[in-house]
């Protein structure tokens, strides 16, 4: 019983961090109908940015999140103009390949500078004991920051004019343009936000688990599963999907070897795509 309580709590906390990664992917898909295959590279970017700031600057992981978010935003906007601006209206193969080439460049540079050695960030925070179950503080902080970020994104999308413009463009780019919205600006900023979320989630995940420059790929695939679970393009769905995946990972690992997890995750991905392509929350 105790094991289950533990698994549920840590599943929810990890799930929230996954949800943040998936939110980035989801926003980009929702606004410009592009699957960002460089998502994993930006997650890895966040991981290493956090690692470098802890090692070289000596700041805590949590402080480094703010500069990482800003850097992610800027890098994302630049990346948008480098890889997507020219090909936005091309068939999806083109956008898939062009974001993938971006990922190759980033991962190539990353492997060159950091090699593929595993690294880890130690947060030295200890753990809290509630009754008989113990949860590490770093997980709780990650969960809380993720909730805060998701809430902020919600407020941004629904309460600010730029957020409303983003939603307008995602609903109908042509009409949005006719109403005087600068669609290029909106698209580049939403790509920037997507990348910033990917990087921050990378930093958050890095504070919990060891990682290499190639780990981004694993979390990118997890983000796909989450987005598909919750419905591509739906922010609330991303959070729900993240929680489901987090819980599933933690609960199933009590019952079966961890190695089976990827198989279950990807089977879920394919099955959901086939029977409910709009996700659990999606309308038909």
């Amino acid at each position: 019983m105790l094991a289950y309580v533990n698994a549920v709590i840590s599943g929810i906390l990890i799930g929230l961090a996954y949800a943040i990664a998936a939110l980035g992917l989801n926003l980009i898909w929702g606004v410009m109908k592009v699957i960002n295959l460089s998502h994993g590279a930006f997650i890895a970017f966040g991981m290493f940015a956090a690692y470098m700031s802890v090692k070289l600057l000596g700041v805590s992981v949590y402080t480094s999140l703010i500069p990482i978010f800003v850097a992610g935003l800027i890098v994302g906007i630049v990346a948008f103009f480098v890889s997507l601006y020219r090909v936005l209206n091309a068939p999806e193969l083109t956008t898939l390949l062009s974001t993938y080439s971006l990922s190759l460049i980033l991962i190539g540079l990353g492997t060159f500078f950091f090699t593929t050695n595993p690294r880890a960030i130690d947060t030295h925070l200890g753990s809290i004991t509630l009754g008989y179950s113990s949860i590490s503080y770093s997980r709780i902080i990650v969960g809380l920051i993720s909730l805060f970020l998701a809430g902020t994104l919600y407020l941004f999308l629904f309460k600010t004019s730029l957020g409303k413009a983003i939603r307008a463009v995602s609903q109908n780019p042509t009409a949005a343009k006719l109403y005087g919205i600068n669609t290029t600006l909106v698209l580049s900023i939403s790509f920037g936000i997507g990348v910033a979320f990917a990087s921050v989630s990378g930093a958050l995940i890095a504070s919990l688990f060891p990682f290499t420059i190639l780990s981004g790929g694993v979390y990118e695939l997890k983000s796909f599963v989450i987005c598909v679970l919750g419905g591509l393009g739906s922010p609330a769905g991303a959070i729900l999907g993240g929680l489901i995946l987090g819980l599933l990972e933690n609960l199933l690992s009590l019952k079966m070897p961890v190695d089976y997890m990827p198989f279950i995750e990807f089977s879920i991905l394919v099955i959901i795509l086939l029977i409910k392509p709009n996700g659990i929350l999606g309308r038909r």
Partner: protein, 320 residues
Amino acid sequence: MQKGYTLFWLLPALIALVIYPIVTNNVMLRETVFLILLSITLSISLNIILGFTGYVSFGHIVYYGIGAYFAFYLMYAYKVSLIVSIVLGGLVSAAIAFVLGQAVLSLRGAIFAIATIGVNEAVKSLINNISILGGAMGLYFDFSIYDNYGGALKAIWLSYYLMGTLTILSVIAAYYIKKSKFGLGLFSIREDQDASAVLGIKTKLYKSLAYATSAFFPAIAGGIFAFKAGNIEPSGAFNLVKSIEMIVMVMLGGYGSVAGSALGALFYEKIKSILLVMPYVKDLHLAVSGLILLIIVQFAPSGIVGFLTKYFKNLRKVLE
């Protein structure tokens, strides 16, 4: 059927490429040509679903892996002969693609791409956990298996001949599919699926058949490659990077063109081999190939063939 001249130069060129290492008896060259032939087979086959039908099969390497595992296991556990195993591997892989295609091909565009990545990763992690297939460590041949083929040396030459034959067969098959009524149906699905369904094309059957064909040749190639290597493991057989390399070859050569896919594979292998030996670039080859891909996608989305036929209209019949 409209006449074209592509095969008149493409086949002799391929045969010359296959024969050259045999005549000169150059082992180094044979290895290089083997990889080129493998790449050509992969890109020609992928082009059938990607270029002809317009479905972005991002995880296409899964069929290569399935064929490789099936053939390897037959040879490893039941001592079935090479040719029978690879052909069976191809058929099984094509059958799986056909059945899976019934479902996945109803997805379109980027969603289909994600689903194929999912299929590849799911199969990879499943095989990672099956202990009779060696799990994550994979399987290794006992060297005595090569004795049936006259020793390891002869076996490697045999796998080379088989790869050459397979490449030539896949080129002929792809060309005749393109020129047939079936191919015309595929191209119309690519242009407008709903319209072609209205015009009486059995879109579901056509798509699934195209998918199965494009799974058949890579599966055999996988079997040959695994036989030659003498071992097989999941991360090599279901390597997503290889899958993307296949797409890059098709894009580099020219989407939808048989000659283009062959040329794309040739150029890609050439570029790769140059990058891998260049000082400085060697460590950065991933980043450099990313840069090259980015430039192709942004500035020459129709590839070599698209570029050539745009400026030399007469080349159209030669570069189909």
